[in-house]
Symmetry: C2
Amino acid sequence: MRIAELSDRTGVPIPTLKFYLREGLLPSGAATAVNQAEYSENHVRRVRLIRSLVEIARLSLGDVRSVLDAVDDEHVSMHNAFATAQDAMVPRRERDGDRHAVALAEVETFVRRHRLRVRPDAAVRDMFADALSLLGEFGIGDDQQRLDSRMFDDAFSAIREQAAFEVANVPDSGRAEQVEYTVVGTIASEIATAAMRRMALEHESAKRFQHAPARRRAT
Amino acid sequence: MRIAELSDRTGVPIPTLKFYLREGLLPSGAATAVNQAEYSENHVRRVRLIRSLVEIARLSLGDVRSVLDAVDDEHVSMHNAFATAQDAMVPRRERDGDRHAVALAEVETFVRRHRLRVRPDAAVRDMFADALSLLGEFGIGDDQQRLDSRMFDDAFSAIREQAAFEVANVPDSGRAEQVEYTVVGTIASEIATAAMRRMALEHESAKRFQHAPARRRAT
DNA sequence: TATTGTGGAGAGTGTCACTATCCATCTACG
DNA sequence: CGTAGATGGATAGTGACACTCTCCACAATA
């Protein structure tokens, strides 16, 4: 397949594909002549992965590159590649030193209490800490519960089951495919979960705050 | 308080505050002279809300404005303001018409099965549909389960309980405060949930794929 | 053989979220 | 009272980012 078909199959414009090629996000096709190359199904898959990371997970191209590097580096184990990809999927931002350190300590108690194998330097800790800081800043939830991070314990047991199920379902295929599967699974389930949360919140808000429910039945 | 103190209290540089004032994201202070104004605690709170929406929820300033407008418009009920804010918190993007329509139909069956009061045009439906499309595109999960969207039913009951708890905990304060509380609560709990999911995934991935567990105990 | 498509490279574009500079006051300190 | 520094307000400029355009020599296709 040549670039026009790759473009048709993925819906990504040719100039953008050329840009990804130049940036090294997309490997070059197999050259058949000085200005001709053959692209494969792998290229289609890779383009789709890039677009999913950019559009759905809203990663920067730099972070997409980190994820792809982790997927592609055969010297890195499946688990380490996944860990690296996870780190790349946490947005980098400046954090207030003191406040963040306190929140990180709360995260640590959470990790210890649940005996989780989460790297001490995992970016996801910063992410959790951000959420805890935010709750604290706006005085949401019970202070004591938040401080020893018991606030989410009930929710966590359900989350944990779901995660165990997801990881168990990763196919016994090649390393790169497993990493890709896990990365896409992470972001898709995460967005699905967030969407369900928001629908449930809208529903509960309607029940509590909206006095004239919009019923399906006509008047 | 004058602008220097507002800057100190929030950690946002003065030029940025001036920019927010110009953009109408931040209301002007009470003028005490032609070039003097007095800012209040409400301004501090508003700046913190803006920064949270920008940095944590990663909203564009345009979407932040939509949220703030919903918070501020006294003519809009608490529930409607929250719904508008929720819509603003779903990233807008171009979606493939056909594929997206199919996914939206799956979302509809989900909404009906759980008898949820979610507006037919709620942006969160697009968000859920994105996640379902992505799962389909990469062949993740069981096809049939995904199609009638039963795949997430177990997870949903836990999510729903948590959401009910959250809404029940919204204080009986003023409308604007309730909207603000709910908006911040939504994004904070969402990020906390995502972070917990990722930690659980890392843990499960370590259990399944990493053969030499990094134990706390020394050798 | 003429048109269209291709790979590759450089330069240009539009958006976004600030950031810098000015200026005519105003405030506060000495 | 005088003056250094801060303030509110406006206009213009910046840097990052993710493309998008234009060109070229050459290949494929009708």
